[in-house]
Subunit: 311 residues, 2 copies
């Protein structure tokens, strides 16, 4: 179940080799939502959280079966499982185990952040710990000393973290773009992230610490790629939130590495997209997922340096 | 289990009335840690997460039995349960249910934060949802639109949120004290929090939105109490992290309301404090918890406006 602890390779090098093997830098977000699942799965008529959690687990595992040959990594959205209570967390554990069994890396999207021994507890849980996940998204608001415990454990356990820098939502301007000492808050955070990344790179190109930068900010992706040479950039907001392939070009280095582009709803709920579900009944929803996943990968290959990954 | 959904009273008014009934504004943090539990509970020799989770649950429920007559609210630290995997989450649910059965309000300390429908999912889970908790701590880094879904659901469900403003750790200076447009980041956040609080107050003194300000910053507690008249202030960092009763004075209004002061380790691990465990065997650790909890309440009563709560 726990791939990270059974390897002596860093998260970064495992990520790079899996990206090359798949020929793709796409990350599929696993965000099950009751009212968006194919109706044949019965989520809308499930009467208790235990049943709904079982449906979420089955749905995500079925998505994983489709995307595992195509992408290097999946990103379960912890909120979607947490909202079902303890049964949701059991379903999450099943989904993580299935993703690993299919050769995928797993990034827990929890945006955790706390101080001292509490940060250590989150790191212990989510970085190659009992949940088995290989990496975790982290919120930097509490300061650099709150990120340190995550950096330390990620480095020790060959796991990774992705720190929020510039998020994809319009409201990211409220605080992240405040200008202090000639730099925006997100630039201050990026500077700290790059230092953590460089420190943990240990002679490799990238360190154990990545950044989250939304696909909705093409200019900032260019700027941050240049400012953070040792940092993987996780790019959410592709598709539904408005980001197009050309918008995320700047997140990549010229060798096609350095970025992971996330799509969730556009791929996992592709059964509801007319351009993906043509000729399919709803029970064939996995075929729509396959089409949407391949479509995303092709668009990334056409408009970004990720094209060089496809020999 | 779910007190919030069975009442038509706002979180704020339930909090105020429980504080008055107990005569105390202390919040006990439930942060079980394997190596700090009384050794008679066997945590250090528990071999699997399921056994350890059961010990955490028993320990927290035993703490609750002691503090329930003395304090209005407890604050389980989600990280401590998450780090045990799914079994830890089941233990957490048991602890929450036990706290409610004993008449306590329950604040989930998860420091969650995300955007759009993901923020809605966290809010749905933790604000009078399947976990049954009455309130949740929230991280503001993603911006005001990321806090909105929490505010909306807290208001609808008579639940509450506490948004991180100025945290107790030294590294809170890194970003929270950056100066932009003549105000620090934490002051910008505080301004947004107060607006949410005022908007949700609905004629009452306080709204559904509180703030987290560390006990290690007495000057900022004074300043923020004045700047956020409609906002409950949750004050962690009392005791072990260095904050004393006099330091948290500024968080209160003169009627003894407006603040909740958190102590976790000093109370729940009081068996390890020589001044609290005199004459006790380790199996009498609950007596040490009782002494430490009363000691904290007395110190708050002596040195803060909370003294007026004790008739």
């Amino acid at each position: 179940m726990n791939t990270a602890s059974t390897t002596s390779l860093s998260f970064s090098s495992r990520l790079a080799s899996t990206i090359k093997r798949r020929g793709s830098a796409a990350c599929i977000g696993l965000d099950p939502r009751r009212d968006q699942l194919p109706s044949c799965l019965g989520a809308n008529t499930a009467v208790d959280p235990k049943n709904l959690a079982a449906i979420y687990s089955r749905f995500c595992c079925d998505v994983i079966d489709v995307v595992a040959p195509l992408v290097p990594i999946v990103k379960p959205q912890l909120a979607c499982f947490e909202m079902l209570g303890p049964h949701g967390m059991t379903a999450l554990a099943d989904v993580i185990a299935h993703a690993h069994a299919k050769g995928l890396l797993v990034l827990a999207d929890g945006k955790r952040g706390d101080i001292g021994s509490t940060a250590e507890a989150y790191a212990d849980g989510w970085l190659a710990g009992p949940w088995g996940t290989d990496a975790l998204t982290v919120n930097p608001y509490l300061g650099l000393d709150s990120i340190e415990p995550f950096v330390k454990l990620a480095s020790e356990r060959n796991a990774g973290i992705f720190v929020l820098v510039k998020t994809s939502n319009p409201g990211s301007k409220d605080f992240q773009e405040l200008l202090a000492d000639g730099r925006t808050l997100y630039q201050h955070v990026a500077s700290g992230v790059e230092q953590f990344a460089a420190r943990t790179a240990a002679g490799e190109t990238y360190g154990a610490v990545g950044a989250v930068v939304g696909a909705t900010w093409p200019r900032q992706l260019d700027e941050l790629r240049a400012a953070m040479p040792h940092t993987w950039i996780l790019v959410p907001g592709f598709g539904k939130q408005g980001g197009r392939a050309a918008d995320v070009r700047g997140a990549f280095h010229s060798d096609g590495l350095g970025a992971l582009v996330v799509s969730a709803r556009d791929v996992i709920f592709a059964h509801a997209r007319p351009e993906m579900n043509t000729g399919l009944s709803e029970s064939q929803w996995q075929t729509a997922v396959d089409r949407a996943c391949r479509d995303m990968i092709e668009r990334l290959a056409a408009d970004t340096p990720a094209g060089v990954l496809r020999k």
